[in-house]
Amino acid sequence: MLSPILLSLKIAAIATIFSFLLGVFFAYAINKKNIPGKNVWETFLILPMVLPPSVLGYLLLIAFGKRGPVGGFLLDTFQIQIVFTWVGAVIASCIVSLPLMYQNAKSAFVSLDPIYERAARTLGSSEWKIFRTVVFPLAWPGIISGIVLSFARAIGEFGATLMIAGNIPGRTQTIPTAIYFAVESGNTELANRLVLIMTIFSFLLIFCLNAWLKKKNYIGRQS
């Protein structure tokens, strides 16, 4: 029972790191800078939220399969296989959690009073320094929300993961796929245990996030 839990945590953690980096980068570039094709970029980023996981999984399978444009290249050049590996599960989890990260980071950046960036500019700061010292720290509560929600989404990812990574015990079997196959094979005891673990974990994650955000707001208003 431990193997799918550890693998889920590993996949979700790595996927969250990538969705954090990509989400923050795109949220800043699209909403704070004048990059061309803003709407197209944004639509692509939100798309995984509305597409059925099976569609997403199928698209990933086409892209990362042995004969796919990315998968074929990786296999021929670096002998790296993505399909039916935990790396595939990381890619699926990252893509499904990216919209949550992007939306949270976007809200945090957009709601930030532009006066702080302007003030930093008049004080001689470069754009990178403004981001590092002013924008990012002030947007941090929103970004934290994005990280937690992305992690929760990544750990619960099922459809796309199943299609691209399969359900190989010890190698690609995550908690959600383990639950699905435990139920299918009639092993309700294992399913119950995993469901309980998953529910408690998700509850605690959201509970702690809300408590932290409330505390932060409270301190802000107090001072």
Partner: protein, 220 residues
């Protein structure tokens, strides 16, 4: 400094041509007269449609010659209407923020001098005891002093003040007026003061212009 600024806005066009080299220039006018946009054009925070701006000897904007020096290199101090103190930093961190961007800050000896100067400015404005406080923990008058300290600590060639007293209550305003008069005498930085208060501009300014719908309609 000289500025010739043309900037089209929704309801009118800012078209201003003026030169001044020392003291305080008050730009008066009602809300929506284009005063803050004028200041933002000078600071490089808004892009004029045409014109030429020079700060000291340096041309920072020239539409014809395609010159547009970024804000960070214009050597300006800007005091915003709501101060714009970074809430994630202490008062001291706010004040030394601009100093740390200076080239000289990399030199150990000069760094000490710059930091000592920051301490001197904080002492002068009576906010040295607030060093470790965050902007949300200090009063309006203290925020104003901190923001002014932050704007002048980098020794700017031009100081831009956008309605610096408007957010203060009348009692605090009186105290700050006295301090500002002392500040003007001691630091003598060429300053543009945006205000809608005639008393205020008479009190501090060496020259005054009145703006209406983006144009200068009176000069004193």
């Amino acid at each position: 400094m000289d500025f010739r600024i043309i900037k089209r806005l929704d309801h009118f066009t800012i078209d201003v041509n003026y030169s001044f080299y020392s003291g305080i220039l008050a730009v008066q006018g009602e809300s929506g007269a284009g005063k803050t946009t004028l200041l933002n054009c000078i600071a490089g925070l808004a892009l004029p449609d045409a014109g030429r701006i020079s700060v000291g000897e340096k041309v920072v904007f020239d539409h014809n010659q395609d010159i547009d020096v970024p804000t960070r290199l214009r050597a300006l101090g800007y005091l915003f209407q709501n101060y714009g103190l970074f809430p994630n930093m202490t008062v001291h961190q706010n004040i030394v923020y601009g100093i740390k961007n200076k080239e000289e800050y990399k030199d150990k000896k000069k760094r000490e001098e710059l930091l000592q100067y920051a301490d001197y400015i904080m002492d002068t404005f009576g906010i040295a005891h607030l060093k470790a406080k965050h902007p949300t923990q200090i009063s309006g008058g203290e925020k104003q002093r901190a923001a002014l300290s932050r704007a002048i600590v980098t020794k700017p060639k031009l100081l831009l003040l956008d309605e610096p007293f408007s957010a203060l209550d009348s009692r605090t305003k009186e105290i700050i007026y006295q301090e500002f008069a002392a500040f003007k005498k001691e630091f003598q930085i060429p300053t543009i003061l945006i205000t809608h208060d005639t008393e205020e501009s008479k009190l501090f300014a060496d020259r005054r212009i009145l703006m209406k719908d983006g144009k200068i309609v009176e000069e004193h």
